[in-house]
């Protein structure tokens, strides 16, 4: 039997956003679902987030934002991933993400964007589907 590598996810908070309820739920739930979770802590910058993602060899960056900075932060993170040749790392955003911003985020290259009160099962299904489609690629 070959041991499968677990999905690795970096959960990140940037700037001055201090809301961590969602983060605390996700850490536990994603682990319960058999995933490896790394958490950056608060007050990070796009630079520190991307550096951590590369160093930890993750499949996803989950950016949690509640201060309306999801678009500029996503833009910067995606630029840096490209610059560092780490475009295989998918960016996913959650938190206070208004529905009206989701098309703009997707257009930037954000793989998944989840508005408030998204069920965690929806997020887990999303990760599993993404991984399955990567394996088929």
């Amino acid at each position: 039997m070959k041991t499968e590598r677990k999905v690795r996810i970096l959960i990140a908070k940037a700037g001055l956003d201090a809301h961590t309820r969602g983060v605390s739920i996700l850490i536990k739930r994603l682990r319960d679902a058999g995933m490896e979770v790394i958490y950056t802590g608060r007050f990070q910058t796009p630079e520190t987030i991307v550096a951590a993602a590369i160093q930890e060899d993750v499949d996803f960056i989950f950016l949690s934002d509640h201060l309306g900075s999801h678009i500029p932060l996503s833009k910067k993170i995606l630029e840096l991933l490209k610059e560092k040749g780490a475009e295989h790392i998918a960016l996913v955003v959650g938190g206070m993400i208004p529905e009206r911003d989701i098309p703009a985020l997707k257009a930037l290259g954000v793989r998944g964007a989840f508005p408030p009160h998204t069920l965690v099962s929806t997020v887990i299904d999303f990760v599993n589907n993404e991984m399955a489609s990567r394996a088929n690629r």
Binding site: T20, I27, R29, L67
Partner: protein, 552 residues
């Protein structure tokens, strides 16, 4: 027996949102334990289970002080004035406002700090110097208004207000209002603390000393149980952790020689009111009782007013959904009703559009205020104090809630108090357990949120089609930076350096800081400069709010 399966299914034990077991029917048997004098007392009498005041809401309204603030100081000023017309008032009927802060100045940075340009004016007005608070309060009298100013230790905005009063010749003792001054709860709540816990405690005590000596009508420790609840606490945790926090603060105040009865009028609690109606009613009743007992038995307060827990209640922001956002008006209405039936001493109803990631509209602020007025003027509920008192169910639930609260308080005492419980990870672990369960319960449908996991909208059906008002931090950053440049060029920078040096010396020793903040305010120091000195002396709390190992 045949058929029994059916009858047990609806007679089974079920659970409230916080996991208190409940039955289908309650009878006199369930309140046999009740001793009226000891457990309830009349409204306004010890142990205050039935309410803080003898005639309920006949003589005091619950007031209404919705939190507001965004953009530039003058934007917030306009919003305050617009909503004052719709009855923003304190429970004693004074016109009142209740302002937030943006995270930049909230965490003690200046608005022209390029690292944080993106957050200037977001969710609250920037308040760097005395000039910003003057602009926020332009045209609003200092006396006869109840000032609600969100600020954490070291309470820079309180110093600014006192300095404005001094400059205008208004005695500080005439000012009424409240500041949060509760950075210790922020560690399990909204994360707006800057300094390590022991330093926070010192700063909190410093401000309490100041108001006790100089501002008798200012509340200056409003434990933010609201934010810990929103961050995932259940109802008994919300109350117990808040009381444990307050016990820590009181002990520290007594250590510097303050008197418990002088201190008590300055202490208040800020709770949330969430969806489980009767559980919330029971929570407020139980909280008052536990507090009365702690003040009388543990702290040996002598004056009866010291036993009376005053609670500002805000309906739950976390319960608002962006699916069918207009439903949030209904949710807030029910939550407000529960808060009133539970005896909240002040009420703050959420804006239905707080969950849309934009600035709440003036209209939603108006609807929130008027929701309270519908309850006040149309329903008749304010005529009789504690109308649910004596209910078999409510009294039984209140008792259960009280037991859970005591249980937590005993555990925290055993660990060594609130700060010890915080530093050991106990509080975070307890909250995380509740939080995780909540998320599983939403997934499985055991807990229901309409629009989220039941009656979900079809594509394009549940969205809000009304107006929204986007934040504009780029512009706000530009303007605030310009103003700060201007201020630094105009003021006496020698004086600024002198005051900051004095602050540093006092903070490095055991100095009394509040009067120095006021000197700094008058010298046109900025928040970044004042916090900068304190950061140097106390260091910053570098722990992330949810260390991985505490989540489980």
């Amino acid at each position: 027996m045949k058929g029994q399966g059916d009858s047990t299914s609806s007679a089974e034990i079920r659970y409230t949102a916080s996991g208190l077991p409940i039955k289908a029917v309650y009878t006199p048997e369930d309140i046999k334990f009740l001793n009226y004098e000891k457990d309830l007392g009349n409204p306004g009498e010890y142990p205050f289970t039935r309410g803080a005041y003898p005639t309920g809401y006949r003589d005091f309204s619950w007031g209404q002080r919705p939190v507001l603030g965004y953009g530039l100081p003058e934007d917030t000023n306009k919003r305050i004035k617009a909503l004052l017309k719709y009855g923003m008032a304190s429970p004693s009927g004074m016109p009142s406002y209740n302002i937030t802060a943006d995270m930049v100045t909230g965490l003690g940075y200046d608005s022209d700090d390029p690292r944080f340009a993106q957050w200037v004016g977001v969710n609250g007005p920037p308040t760097n110097s005395i000039e910003d608070l003057e602009a926020i309060l332009d045209g609003i009298p200092l006396e006869g208004v109840y000032h609600g100013i969100l600020c954490y230790a070291p309470n820079w905005r309180l110093a600014l207000l006192a300095a404005i009063a001094d400059n205008r010749g208004v005695p500080r003792s005439k000012l009424a209002g409240a500041v949060l001054n509760d950075s210790l709860h922020s560690f399990i709540g909204e994360g707006c603390h800057v300094f390590p816990p022991r330093a926070c405690l010192r700063l909190i005590v410093d401000t309490l000393r100041f108001v006790t000596e100089e501002m008798p009508h200012f509340r200056a420790c409003d434990v933010q149980a609201y934010s810990s609840r929103e961050a995932g606490c259940d109802a008994p945790q919300e109350v117990a952790f808040a009381i444990a926090d307050m016990i820590e603060v009181i002990n520290a105040c007594l250590n510097i020689g303050l008197d418990i009865d002088d201190l008590a009028p300055h202490l208040t609690f800020f709770f949330a009111c969430s969806n489980d109606f009767f559980e919330e009613v029971a929570k407020f009743r139980a909280a008052r009782k536990v507090w009365a007992q702690i003040m009388s038995e543990r702290f040996k307060a002598k004056k009866e007013r010291s036993y009376r827990m005053r609670m500002q209640v805000k309906t739950s922001g976390a319960s608002l959904t962006s699916q069918y956002p207009l439903l949030n008006i209904v949710r807030a209405g029910f939550q407000a009703l529960a808060a009133i039936l539970g005896g909240a001493t002040a009420l703050n109803i959420t804006n239905f559009d707080e969950c849309l990631g934009a600035i709440p509209m003036e209209e939603s602020g108006r609807i929130a205020l008027l929701t309270g007025k519908v309850l006040e003027y149309e329903t008749g509920i304010k005529e009789v104090a504690d109308p649910l008192g004596g209910s078999y169910y409510v009294e039984s639930l209140t008792k259960q809630m009280e037991e859970r609260i005591w249980n937590y308080l005993e555990k925290i005492d055993h660990i060594g108090g609130y700060i010890a419980a915080l530093e050991s990870g106990y509080l975070h672990r307890e909250i995380a357990a509740v939080n995780t369960k909540y998320s599983y319960d939403l997934d499985t449908g055991k807990r229901v949120l309409i629009g989220v996991n039941k009656f979900q909208p079809e594509e394009g059906e549940g969205e809000y089609r009304g107006q929204i008002m986007e934040h504009d931090p780029e512009r706000w950053y530009r303007i605030m930076s310009e103003r700060l440049r201007n201020l630094r060029a105009r003021r006496d920078n020698g004086r600024v350096r002198e005051v900051l040096a004095k602050l540093k010396e006092a903070a490095s020793g055991n100095g009394y800081l509040s009067p120095i903040y006021i000197e700094a305010a008058k010298a046109y120091c900025t928040i970044g400069e004042v916090y900068g000195v304190l950061r140097e002396v106390f260091g910053e709390d570098t722990s992330c709010l949810v260390p991985l190992e505490w989540v489980g």
